[in-house]
Every structure is written in C-alpha cells, then in structure tokens.
C-alpha cells in the first residue's frame, strides 16, 4: 500500500478522536446521572428511548 504515512494517521486520528469523545460522554453522563433524581431525568425516562 502506498501513502501509508498519510492514510494511517488520517484513519487513526478519526477513530481515536471518536472513541475518546464517546468515552468522555459516557463517563460524564454517569457522573451527572448519579446526581439527578430519576424523576428529573425527563429525556431518559421514556421506556422506548
């Protein structure tokens, strides 16, 4: 494969940034959800969401 020094950083950067941001959101969500009573988690209380 040619241009590996451009292809791999582009793919690696994209996947790592997505993964780290998703991890940050999950952890931040857990931190905040533990501090808000369930009855006030309006957008999380619908059974089909």
């Amino acid at each position: 494969m040619t241009h590996l020094c451009y292809v791999l950083p582009a793919w690696g950067l994209t996947l790592v940034v997505w993964a780290l941001y998703a991890l940050y959101l999950v952890r931040r969500g857990r931190f905040l959800a533990a501090r808000v009573p369930p009855r006030r988690r309006r957008w999380m209380s619908a059974p089909d969401l």
Binding site: M1, T2, H3, L4, Y6, V7, P9, A10, W11, L13, T14, L15, V17, W18, Y21, A22, L25, V26, R28, G29, R30, L32, A33, A34, R35, V36, P37, P38, R40, R41, R42, W43, M44, D48, L49
Partner: protein, 260 residues
C-alpha cells in the same frame, strides 16, 4: 430544630434506575455503529482498489468526506436549534443546538486534519492560504469554536443561550459559502468539485463512501443523543442547586428570626 432540606444528591440515593445517559435505543445504535465501522474499515482499507491518480491516498476519502458532510448537518442542526431558541425560547432546541455544535466542531476539526493529510500526497501541500475551500472551512471551525466559548462563559443562562444562538446563526451563514466555494471560485482552489454524483467513481468505492457517510451519521446521532442528555442533566443540576441554596437560606433566615 429545623434540618436543611435534603440535597439533590441525597434524593437520588433512592433511585432504582441505572445512572447513565444510555438507553436501549443508544445501545442498539452503538452496536450498529461498531459493526458499521468494522465494515467501512475493512472495505476502505483493504477492499476498495487503489485509485489510478491518487493511488492509496484515496482511502482517506472514507474518513474525510463523511466528516465534512456530517459537519454540515451538525452545524445546520445548531442553526435550527439556535433559531428555535431565539424565536420560541425552546430549551429542548437550545440544548440540541449546543450538543450539535460540540459534535460539529469535532467533525470540522477532523475534516480539516484529514483534508490536510489527503492534500499532501494529492496536491503536494498540507495547506494553502489562498485556497477558498480550506480557508472558509477554517473560518467556519473558528466561528463554531467561538460558539462553544460563548457557551462556556457562564452567567445568566438565557442570555448565554441568546448570545450563542446569534453566533450559531452567523456560523450557519458560512455553510453555503463553504459548500459552494469550489464552484463560485473554481480558479482559486486546489479542492476538487463534488464528485459523488458525477458517475465517475467506481462502484465499490462509491458504495464504501456512502456506507461511511451513513455510519458516521449514525455515530453522530449516538453522540448527539448522549450529549443532549448530558446538557439536560447539567441544566437540572443547576436548577436543583439553586433550589437547595434558596431553601437553605430560607431556613437559615427562619432560624435567625427565632420562634414568633
């Protein structure tokens, strides 16, 4: 003796629900995204043949093009949310605008970075300041970073949302300029014009591009749902903290005055 009102944290102890922003929908959505990412990576890195002109540098297209298209969608959503806040004072849309802006900035940053990595082997340079597509995209990125900065300033919540909403709409004005820059100033850009619909792309390559756009769109949706819920929880916490503070102050004042 009067006890202080129980805090929100105390009230949450009796909750029987799971303390996450996840749900059944986001679980299945996340699973589909993971499978999709494996599919796109397999096709994009190994399945699709190298391009006659760009050789293997064309494989960057499968991360660059979806990031660029989803940037437009995310900032478009920010503009709609901003408009709905300014027009109807809709908190739901305000939080959605903020969530979409954060993910849009991430996508726009990736668009710029992967575009530079694509430009070096294709055009012979990472960056060209005279190129209208590159510069207008950078301006869009900076405007939306400004949007997030305004959001983080704090102060009165409604005023912050209004200021951010104006910035969000200004950013949206730049969207058609970025998109059409390769047509309006074709002689002032190294960037190619849109080639998705001209019928010149080989079938498997086109399929992989479309698949990557779909998977990135679903990943963006997953992120926006989680980011929206975080925004909602942050708002609830701020409201609850204010309520607790006022309640404690009221009890303190009552204690200070003593029994009537």
């Amino acid at each position: 003796m009067n006890e202080p009102a129980p805090s929100v944290a105390d009230q949450s102890l009796d909750s029987g629900t799971s303390d996450t922003t996840g749900s059944r929908t986001t679980f299945w959505l996340g699973l589909v995204v993971l499978v999709g990412v494996v599919g796109v990576a397999t096709l994009g890195l190994f399945g699709v043949p190298a391009d006659d002109v760009q050789a293997d540098a064309v494989r960057i297209m499968f991360v660059h093009v979806p990031a660029a298209i989803c940037t437009y969608v995310a900032f478009g959503l920010t503009a709609v949310g901003s408009l709905m806040w300014l027009w109807r004072r809709s908190v739901w849309w305000d939080i959605t605008a903020h969530a979409a802006a954060e993910i849009g900035v991430l996508l726009c940053g990736l668009t710029l970075a992967t575009g530079m990595l694509w430009g070096r082997p294709t055009w012979g340079t990472y960056w060209e300041w005279g190129d209208v597509r590159l510069v207008t995209t950078l301006v869009l990125f900076l405007i939306m970073v400004g949007y997030l900065s305004v959001r983080s300033l704090g102060g009165d919540e409604a005023a912050t949302s209004t200021r951010a909403g104006v910035v969000g709409l200004v950013g949206a004005l730049n969207l058609p300029i970025v998109n059409q820059s390769v047509n309006w100033w074709a002689d002032r850009t190294l960037h190619q014009q849109s080639s998705l619909t001209d019928g010149k792309i080989e079938d498997l390559t086109l399929f992989t591009v479309l698949l990557s756009i779909g998977v990135t769109g679903l990943a963006g949706l997953w992120l926006i749902i989680h980011r929206f819920r975080i925004g909602w929880l942050e708002r609830e916490l701020r409201a609850a903290d204010l309520h607790d503070a006022l309640e404690n102050q009221r009890l303190e004042a009552h204690r200070f005055r003593g029994p009537a």
